[in-house]
């Protein structure tokens, strides 16, 4: 079949080669900066300034800083506090995003017939504005005399304005949810849309109620979509630092990426910051690995 699929006379690698320039470019843009980060993390310190000096030869790499950082994250220290806090925020934000986003995606995929196009456009609309601008808009809304406080006071839910921006974890988590939920809804919608309608009709025909159909058929079938969408928002959330910067700026809500950015901006903390970057990358690789294994398994099941 492969001979028929390819053009007559064209070598096997011909069509793959079209992807090569892009792939090579992306690899370079990823590998080279990452190698630079490794070189700084495994580098030495200038003895006078304690400023980081990169070592480019992997054979000379000095892993002292990196092991120190890992030990601190695993066994105790400021970095551990920040890491656990980040896990908590990202975890809660992801679950919240799913809980809010799944119904929206489901509705658009399954029930919005005439309004589907409009709803999709509305969903994509936030992408026209950068993440940063959207967060700044929230800063404006959440100020003491902002719309949120005015509204709540008018309804009578609160007596005086609530100071949302003074270091509340809830504000940061909600900021993360708001910022990343479009990235979750769209792939989720695509996955649910792809579910074969006939599966659900069969379930209904066999006597299952709508609720049971959802729980027993739709939800498991959309599991891959949920996983993919979660990964799409989990990965950047772990590296997010300006949500916290804009909505809180209080050290008690500072996240892992804030610590990284602080260290990388300082004169002497470059190696430590780079080591934290590597640690975060390794951690995320493990998460991605789980996702890839799960996808592969699902693909195998599907082909059975």
């Amino acid at each position: 079949m492969s001979e028929q699929a390819k053009g007559v006379g064209l070598p096997g690698w011909f069509w793959q080669a079209f992807a090569a320039p892009g792939v090579i470019w992306l690899l370079l843009l990823f590998i080279v900066p990452f190698f630079a980060i490794l070189a700084i993390s495994m580098g030495t310190r200038d003895p006078i300034f304690l400023a980081p000096v990169p070592i480019w030869n992997p054979l000379d790499w000095n892993t002292e800083t990196f092991t120190g950082v890992v030990r601190e994250i695993l066994f105790g220290g400021p970095h551990q506090v920040v890491f656990i806090r980040t896990l908590a925020y990202v975890g809660v934000a992801s679950v919240l995003s799913l809980v809010i986003g799944y119904p929206v995606a489901y509705y658009i995929a399954r029930h919005a017939h005439r309004t589907k196009m409009i709803l999709l456009i509305l969903l994509i609309a936030p992408w026209w504005i950068s993440y940063l601008m959207r967060m700044l808009a929230w800063v404006n809304l959440l100020e003491d005399r902002g719309l949120v406080n005015s509204l709540l006071q008018k309804i009578g839910l609160i007596g005086g304005p609530i100071n949302w921006l003074n270091g509340r974890p809830s504000t940061v988590v909600l900021g993360l949810v708001y910022g990343y939920i479009p990235f979750l809804i769209l792939p989720l919608y695509a996955a649910i849309d792809r579910i074969d309608q006939s599966m659900m009709e069969a379930s209904r025909d066999l006597g299952a109620s709508p609720a049971r159909t959802f729980v027993r058929v739709t939800l498991p079938l959309s599991r891959q979509g949920i996983l993919a969408a979660s990964v799409i928002i989990l990965l950047p959330m772990f590296g997010d630092y300006y949500t916290q910067d804009l909505l809180s700026a209080n050290p008690r809500t500072s996240m892992f990426a804030n610590a990284i950015s602080r260290l990388l901006f300082s004169r002497t903390g470059g190696a430590e910051g780079s080591s934290m970057v590597i640690f975060l990358s390794l951690f995320l690789v493990i998460l991605m690995f789980y996702y890839l294994v799960s996808t592969a398994r699902a693909a195998r099941e599907y082909e059975r």
Binding site: L50, A51, P78, V81, E143, N166, A259
Partner: protein, 426 residues
């Protein structure tokens, strides 16, 4: 590294700006490092290291008690007197963003018939790197006093020919020969600023002067949620050390640093203090903060940022009579400047009373010129009466402390403590 009020990390909120600190900042100045390897530090003849007066001939960490007079090197001489200014050229200024009124630069260019260019840098490290590797041949550079000794030792700056700079006499006498450059051999002063407490008078429970220890305002829960500190470890530690009665803000005393760290954590807990960069001039005048650590220039600039019903008359600025934090910036000429004569003339131009005052009106940071007196500044409307204490006077320069660069091991203690504070772990 001494933090600078014009560092645009503190001004801009763009993500691109946050990310733009390149890896190059981590690379030390090789020449300076090699030179410094011969130097033990601030001139102490301690055993175990080479003495500070070794190969360089002067201390790289001068203090008011240990001032430095730079040598003039044979291979880096000053230009001759009575030369004609360069023509048919582009005159380049290398400075922080928004730190010099572009109109004044333009007028200078028109006066001498040359094109002008204003190139900016984000921080001292990248600026010095660009000069060092010859990528940029700026004519005038604005260094910070912590980098000046190293720049001179590395022969990156050229000695100044005072025949071209008669207006240096307009500056305060005490700053014409400061401890970090006696006889102003390689630099002239540009601005001077203090770090004090800015507050919204109608909103705070008590004004700073009503406390027994004015700095205690940062620990008062009455203003909870409305308190801001600078996101810069040396500034916050200096303030806390002064509050605790430690006079030396560059102290190496571990117990003092540890106590300061605990106190800063307490302040954040008691008041929900936030660390910001632009809070003093951009957020306090709109009511987001009622109290904020502030540079004098930020307080002066704040009068233009009032909103939400607040007026410039609501602003207040407190600064101690003595023993506070003070800073100053300079102008210098790189050794590889293409237009050294014009550079000298420009420095002289900026030291003119009239020009300096006009530049202050735009920049907000004050030049240390004798003709600029608190009374004239208030009378002519540059600074409102309620912000009079944000005007820096000459006697303050002598009786207050600069944030000096620390020995690396001492710096590490401050940084580790700051790490604990900023991760909310303290």
């Amino acid at each position: 590294m001494v933090f600078h009020p014009r560092d645009p990390r503190f001004r801009s909120l763009s993500r691109r700006d946050f990310l733009r600190r390149s890896l190059a900042t981590g690379v030390a100045l090789p020449s300076a490092a090699a030179i410094l390897a011969a130097c033990g530090g601030d001139g102490n003849d301690n055993a175990g290291g080479s003495d500070g007066t070794g190969d360089i001939g002067f201390s790289l960490t001068p203090t008011p008690d240990d001032p430095v007079t730079y040598p003039i090197y044979d291979d880096n001489p000053m230009i001759e007197s009575d030369l004609e200014p360069e023509t048919n050229t582009t005159f380049t200024i290398f400075n922080w963003i928004d730190y010099l009124w572009p109109k004044k630069l333009r007028e200078f260019g028109e006066k001498y018939g040359v094109e002008v260019e204003y190139t900016t840098f984000y921080n001292s490290e990248t600026a010095v790197e660009r000069i060092r590797n010859g990528e940029l041949q700026a004519d005038v550079y604005f260094p910070t006093y912590d980098y000046l000794p190293r720049l001179v030792a590395a022969k990156l700056m050229q000695p100044l020919n005072h025949d071209y700079i008669p207006n240096l006499a307009n500056a305060w006498p005490s700053i014409q020969s400061p401890f970090y450059d006696q006889d102003s051999k390689y630099s002239v002063p540009y601005t001077i600023y203090t770090t004090g407490i800015e507050y919204l008078a109608p909103e705070v429970a008590k004004a700073p002067e009503e406390y027994d220890n004015p700095y205690d305002i940062f620990w008062d829960g009455a203003n909870a949620g409305k308190v801001g500190l600078y996101d810069e470890y040396r500034e916050v530690f200096s303030m806390t050390l002064l509050r605790n009665g430690v006079e030396d803000i560059n102290t190496a005393d571990e117990a003092a640093i540890e106590q300061a760290k605990k106190d800063i954590v307490d302040a954040i807990a008691a008041t929900n203090a936030r660390l910001t960069i632009n809070g003093a001039y951009a957020k306090l005048p709109t009511g987001t903060f009622y109290v904020h650590q502030s540079w004098s220039g930020d307080a002066v600039a704040a009068q233009y940022y009032t909103a939400n019903g607040y007026k410039p008359g609501d602003l207040g600025f407190w600064y101690p009579d003595s023993g506070g934090v003070i800073g100053n910036d300079m102008m210098a000429i790189p050794a590889n400047a293409k237009n050294p004569v014009l550079a000298h003339l420009f420095i002289n131009y900026m030291l003119e009373d009239r020009i300096g005052l006009q530049n202050f009106g735009w920049v907000g940071y004050q030049p240390p010129l004798s003709s600029i007196e608190p009374d004239t500044l208030v009378k002519d409307g540059w600074v409102p009466e309620n912000l009079r204490s944000a005007i820096v006077t000459e006697d303050q320069f002598g009786s207050n402390e600069l944030i000096l660069p620390l020995e690396p091991d001492v710096d590490a203690k401050y940084l580790d403590a700051w790490e604990e504070i900023t991760s909310g772990a303290g």
